[in-house]
């Protein structure tokens, strides 16, 4: 029987340095797959390599041979100590390999559970395997099941719902306040990695413009140029509030940069259009009392982190539902794989023909009013006919031995006679 083997490392078992040096570029993947399938041990193979994992999936008669070939392939690229690789490497077989693949494709095994990129990366890996001609009957079926399961998990559970990063949580909040962010103006006070990331998220939501206020005007000018915005002097902040809708603050100031007394009159002059303050500075820049003004909303970094934590928790809860979908799919795949064996297929073929023969026999016997003896004779005739008819196909299937062609033929016969239904 064909075994499925998965061997690899991921973000849970290996440090980033090791993952980096094992990573495969697309062309390298194709070459590695071609080399693997030239060897005797491996029948079909597929390899995916992302920043969080490098995994090699193989279908093979010779289980140990395949694992050894896989190890050799990874060890050859490794520039870190080999025992580190040995320690980080995991091997899954059959059901466990299938389950692992389904979990990876459904993003249940991701660093950020539910992140959507992984499925695209697996699809790309499958295309490379097709290019290398290293994917056959078994992996073709397995990969299509994996795509199907991943889609089901995504649509039937809330695994991909709600922001799990601080900057995206801010965008989600903005959407609940303003509806669409399109056409809103953003005021960036100060600078910093997280603030700039959030501004980039906001720009992707097609905000109307970016204003940048920095204590050092020149730095502000640089940032404004980067975001295609406008720099203003720090002293002009109160006036800028009349223009902006979303205020992102991230300065190193020891006290509040904006106070309730400064904001209150502004709300009146902007005809109470809402103001959304995102304060990612520590210590805080925005007076939390501003949140008590009507149509002004203040979220600080702890609030945003709290939201992200809750959303992550909810994703993990949803992931449990995803595991159940996967359990079911693993069993279904095993049933299909077992059916690929020659003997059960021949038995199923016999049963199918016998059932058809019996049905036709009954019909004729009834119409012709055959006696008990006639029916028995006809039944013996049918059995002999079926045995002789199936003799050649049986020999053909068995002769192919345990080779890829046999799997292909068995699969074909099962499809031709609809034996799986």
């Amino acid at each position: 029987m064909v075994a499925l083997v998965l061997i690899g490392i991921n973000h849970k078992t290996a440090p980033v340095e090791l993952r980096e040096c094992l990573a495969f570029a697309p062309q390298e993947t194709v070459e590695a797959l071609q080399e693997l399938s030239r060897g005797p041990a491996v029948r079909e193979a597929l390899l995916y390599s992302t920043c969080n994992r490098v995994e090699l999936l193989m279908a093979a008669e010779d289980r140990e041979g395949a694992v050894a070939a896989g190890r050799r392939l990874l060890a050859a690229r490794n520039r870190m100590p080999q025992e580190l690789l040995e320690k980080s490497l995991y091997v899954h077989e059959n059901d466990e390999a299938v389950r692992h693949l389904f979990r990876v494709a459904s993003s249940l095994d991701s660093l950020v559970v539910g992140e959507p990129q992984i499925l695209g990366q697996i699809k790309e890996a499958y295309r490379q395997a097709l290019r290398a001609r290293s994917s056959g009957v078994i992996l073709n079926r397995l990969m299509h099941r994996a795509f199907f399961v991943a889609k089901r998990v995504r649509t039937e559970t809330g695994i991909g719902g709600h922001a799990v990063s601080v900057s995206y949580a801010a965008v989600e909040l903005g959407r609940k306040i303003f509806g669409s962010l399109e056409g809103r103006r953003v005021l960036l006070i100060g600078a910093g990695e997280m603030a700039e990331l959030a501004v980039e998220h906001l720009i992707r939501q097609r905000v109307a413009g970016i204003l940048v206020a920095n204590r050092t005007y020149e730095n502000g000018l640089d940032l404004a140029r980067r975001f295609n915005g406008r720099a203003l002097r720090f002293e002009d902040l109160p006036q800028a509030l009349a223009e902006a809708d979303i205020i992102l603050s991230s300065t190193g100031a020891p006290g509040f940069v904006l106070t309730r007394e400064q904001v209150r009159p502004v709300l009146r002059s902007r005809r109470h259009r809402p103001l959304f303050f995102i304060d990612i500075a520590v210590p805080r820049d925005i007076d939390p009392e501003i949140n008590r003004l009507e149509n002004a909303y203040v979220y600080d970094i702890d609030d945003l982190k709290g939201i992200v934590e809750e959303n992550l928790e909810d994703r993990l809860k949803e992931a449990v539902k995803g595991e159940r979908i996967i359990d079911e799919a693993v069993i279904r795949f095993r049933q299909w794989l077992e059916g690929l064996e020659v003997v059960p297929t021949i038995v199923a073929l016999h049963r199918k023909l016998e059932a058809i023969g019996e049905q036709e026999l009954k019909r004729t016997a009834l119409a012709r009013r055959w006696g008990e003896q006639d029916v028995e004779a006809a039944r013996r005739m049918l059995a002999a006919f079926i045995n002789k008819t199936l003799h050649e196909p049986t020999v053909f299937l068995k002769q192919q031995g345990h080779r890829p062609e046999q799997t292909f033929s068995v699969d074909f016969v099962r499809k031709l006679f609809r034996l799986d239904e």
Partner: protein, 272 residues
């Protein structure tokens, strides 16, 4: 005939249940079921009202029962407008139970034999009643949207983003939908009052008779005029606007029901 009305009530109740479960479980299918049941109920409801009108030979709003049946119909119509114009699906959570309740209350009232009066055959009167009821239905939904706004606003202010935050639409959309309801409601109410005045002049020979219903209708009209003025002049929006819509609906309810029970007047006979 009564079977149609009962079927309609059950469809509205089913719709209310579907919207409630949709709110809790967030399954898009349930929202569609709720909307579909509401449309089906509305069609039966329309057939029933049309048949009643034909049978009696006049507009079916001559007693409290008929008035309530028509009011429920107007709320359903207004809901379809808000749903189509602003896409506030979850408003069904407010509208469907309201429609079902008003319709049920009306259906449970006795149906006194209708005396066909010439009063109810006038086109002016039909225009008056239709415009007033549709306008009040729009104000009712403005109240519903206002409640949703306050709930969502509270969730955002108190930083509870796990429950209603995810289930209700954005503040901007709720505010815009509420404002839309007020504008439409105000226009219809103005139209209803004008046709009412013209009709009063034709029947009683005077535009204005200081009838309590007239006075309170005037008060409601002025109230909503003040709300619109505040919005256009000083940019009242958000919480303030939502509260005004909610209180306004209470004033309307009083005008609609309270006045009839407290005072005599020439609207009394239609709504008892």
């Amino acid at each position: 005939m009564e079977e149609i009305l009962i079927a309609g009530i059950f469809l509205y109740l089913g719709s209310a249940a579907a919207y409630l479960v949709f709110f809790l479980l967030q399954r898009p299918l349930l929202q569609r079921v709720g909307m579909f049941a509401l449309i089906a109920g509305f069609l039966l409801h329309t057939v029933y009202l049309a048949a009643a009108g034909f049978r009696q030979g006049h507009f079916p709003a001559s007693n409290l029962r008929e008035t309530l049946l028509f009011a429920a119909w107007a709320v359903a119509g207004a809901f379809f407008f808000v749903r189509a114009r602003y896409g506030v699906k979850i408003l069904g959570l407010f509208a469907a139970p309201l429609i079902a309740f008003v319709l049920l209350a009306g259906a449970l009232l006795p149906d006194p034999p209708a005396q066909t009066t010439r009063l109810f055959q006038s086109l002016w009167l039909m225009a008056h009643v239709t415009a007033i009821f549709l306008g009040e239905a729009a104000f009712a939904l403005a109240c519903g949207v206002g409640i949703l706004y306050l709930v969502q606003e509270k969730a955002i202010k108190t930083k509870k983003t796990r429950y209603v935050f995810r289930r209700l639409p954005s503040l901007e959309l709720l505010d815009a939908a509420g404002y839309g309801c007020i504008v439409v409601g105000f226009a219809l109410m103005t139209l209803g009052l004008i046709t009412g005045l013209v009709y009063a002049r034709a029947v009683w020979g005077r535009f204005w008779t200081w009838d309590p219903k007239e006075v309170w209708s005037g008060v409601s009209w002025l109230y909503y005029a003040a709300l619109l003025h505040g919005r256009l002049r000083s940019g009242w929006r958000g919480r303030r606007s939502a509260w005004w819509a909610i209180v306004g609906f209470a004033v309307l309810l009083f005008t609609f029901l309270g006045v009839n029970f407290l005072w005599e007047g020439h609207h009394r006979e239609f709504t008892r």
